[in-house]
């Protein structure tokens, strides 16, 4: 007799998953538009790519992945009713995300100082559009993580009720997932 494997419930609020799918759809369209435009303008994209700070992209990938790891640990901690540990992990996640923000701002400063702005060519239009749109999502994610941190400090979450932590975590992992695609697309593949 076969026994059906029980499925775990979707982490967080169901509404966040509809929001995540909507966000992924928008990013997906932008990624496809980038890939097609690159195919049509290979010289412009090759030249633009040569000026990118690929080390900054690598550091940012590490920072976002590490931040996601701390968020997973924060969810694990609150499930065990370890509020203090949850708060510490959220602070570590925010610290890793801050590295991303600082490196990204430095990268923008470097590009703009070198005379590459939104109107330079098609590559830079896509580069700023894609990376800034993602950057805005990181900032929103950081605000959400900070809000969860303060709510956790005031005892809003426990091992019984932690939907808010899971919801914020799911959004943060979506931001991470998008960057995992954006990094090879924009920084690695020529």
């Amino acid at each position: 007799m076969s026994r059906a494997v029980p499925h775990t419930p979707l982490p967080g609020d169901l509404a966040i998953w509809f929001f995540i799918y909507a966000e992924l759809l928008v990013f997906g369209i932008l990624f496809i538009a980038y890939a097609i435009t690159k195919n049509l303008n290979p010289e412009i994209f090759a030249e633009g790519h040569a000026h990118l700070n690929r080390l900054a992209g690598l550091i940012n990938t590490g920072a976002l992945i590490t931040s996601s790891y701390f968020v997973v640990r924060a969810v694990g901690a609150i499930k065990l009713n370890r509020r203090k540990a949850c708060g510490t992990q959220l602070l570590l996640a925010l610290a890793a995300a801050s590295i991303y923000v600082l490196v990204k701002l430095f990268e923008y400063y470097q590009s703009i100082s070198a005379g590459f702005d939104l109107s330079t060519n098609t590559f830079y239009t896509f580069y700023y559009l894609l990376t800034f749109f993602h950057f805005a999502h990181v900032l929103l994610g950081m605000v959400i993580l900070a809000a969860i941190y303060f709510k956790n400090r005031t005892g809003h979450y426990s091992n019984i009720e932690h939907t808010g932590v899971e919801t914020g975590a799911s959004y943060w992992h979506m931001v991470d997932l998008v960057w995992v695609i954006l990094f090879p697309l924009v920084y690695v593949i020529r």
Binding site: A35, I65, T66, P184, I189, R190
Partner: protein
Amino acid sequence: MSVQPSNKLSSLNTPFVRSPANILGLLSSYRNGLTLLVLLALTTISAMLGELTPTSSDYAPLILVILVVKAQLIIDYFMQLKSSKPFWRYSMSAFALVIALIIWICN
């Protein structure tokens, strides 16, 4: 009269590793740590492959395979969709796979 604590309460009062719930938590923590290390290693390999060829990306298919593997690790272990209903897991995986395929076709 002594009252026997429930399982949930005893897991809060006993030392960290003794409770079955905490042992599961500890195992999950090791798994997530391993996932982080694999993701960081794959990111470094991917960046190095991109640096190998100065003019064209001959390694693009390999870089895209790495992209899909990394996305799957995030979906399964960070988003914790591995044991969720297949729709959620596979639709998320399909997103990464379709984007990777389109990038490969256009490259």
